[in-house]
């Protein structure tokens, strides 16, 4: 993906995101956040992020591989420990990538 369609994608992403950012600032005094929405929104980050992480670790070249041969899974578990202890993006990437490279070289 590149050129015009890509820029259109950026603009659509930005407009939708602005609508979310502006939503209740615009609605102030008119509508309150309904309880069911507030309840559901609490679980968005954990749910979506896990949905992005899990498949990337257990699939290897498009095939489900839950074994010690899957270096993404092994390096990912190492990265998960760092992520759990530090909650820091940079450290998680650093340790996870180094593990990935080392396992690849072995």
């Amino acid at each position: 993906m590149s050129g015009f369609p890509l820029w259109m994608l950026f603009i659509a992403l930005a407009l939708g995101t602005f609508a979310l950012r502006y939503s209740f600032i615009y609605l102030f005094g008119k509508v309150d956040v309904p309880d069911w929405l507030a309840d559901a929104l609490k679980f968005v980050p954990a749910s979506v992020l896990a949905a992005l992480v899990f498949p990337a670790l257990v699939y290897s070249d498009g095939v489900l591989d839950i074994s010690l041969n899957n270096i993404r899974l092994l390096a990912g578990i190492g990265g998960a420990l760092v992520a759990w202890r530090t909650k820091n993006v940079m450290w998680t990437i650093l340790v996870g990538m180094i593990l990935f490279w080392v396992l690849q070289a072995m």
Partner: protein, 228 residues
């Protein structure tokens, strides 16, 4: 100095410690963009226009996998749903502000700007909370833009053979652990993650959206049960 300007500067100053986290995240977004084939101008353009790192990384991963645009949009918007809560929380402080000031600064609302502003309001409320927020948000935005440009230069120097696409799940992992606060959020993550694994073969990466919804539903259900 006018008290509004004073609060603006205090906000900018208070954001300094947070900026240490903004720099690498913006770098990562640019480097990731280049790694899936965007050119440096597109990489910086994305960070400037979209200005929402986690959703940018998700879209970039989907670009790398060749997903269709509607799935990219839905995924990014779902990730950014959290801004609804920020919007609702900030709204009382911005209601008297003119649109010409409010709109640009709401465009650059970020997790970090929200966090710094709300913790200040909770501890020692500034005289002009809106201006304080503008200072925080502005400092973060400026740092983000310069770091994104630097990242685009850096990304161009990194060879594809490094397998940097593995940095995507790693970065999401760090963000995910930060979002795990209690049992229901852990259940939401487990259900979302496992559903995504099971629906991986679905066309157009639509499994990602299904998984996100299942995870959210499971979290709400777990919390209601815990309360009951």
């Amino acid at each position: 100095m006018k008290s509004t300007h004073q609060d603006f500067l205090t906000g900018a100053r208070d954001s300094l410690p947070i900026l240490l986290g903004v720099v690498p995240f913006a770098l990562i977004c640019s480097v990731a963009a280049i790694s899936v084939g965007l050119n440096p101008v597109e990489a910086v353009g994305m960070s400037l226009i979209v200005f929402a790192g986690a959703s940018q990384l998700a879209v970039l991963q989907l670009i790398g996998e060749g997903a269709i645009w509607i799935v990219m949009l839905l995924t990014a918007w779902v990730i950014n749903l959290r801004f609804i809560m920020y919007s609702a929380t900030l709204s009382p402080y911005l209601q008297d502000e003119p649109l010409k000031r409010k709109i640009p600064f709401i465009y650059i609302l970020s997790d970090q700007a929200f966090g710094v502003t709300m913790s200040k309001i909770a501890s020692q409320p500034p005289a002009n909370p809106a201006w304080y927020y503008y200072g925080v948000a502005g400092a973060i935005w400026l740092t983000w833009v310069f770091s994104a440009i630097f990242g685009a230069v850096l990304g161009n120097l990194i060879p594809a053979s490094w397998g940097l696409e593995f940095a995507f799940p790693l970065s999401f992992m760090a963000l995910m652990f930060a979002a795990l606060r209690d049992r229901p959020t852990v259940i939401a993550a487990l259900v979302g993650g496992i559903t995504a694994v099971l629906t991986k073969g679905f066309p157009y990466n639509i499994g990602l959206i299904i998984a996100a919804l299942f995870g959210i539903f499971a979290g709400v259900f777990a919390e209601r049960r815990a309360k009951a």
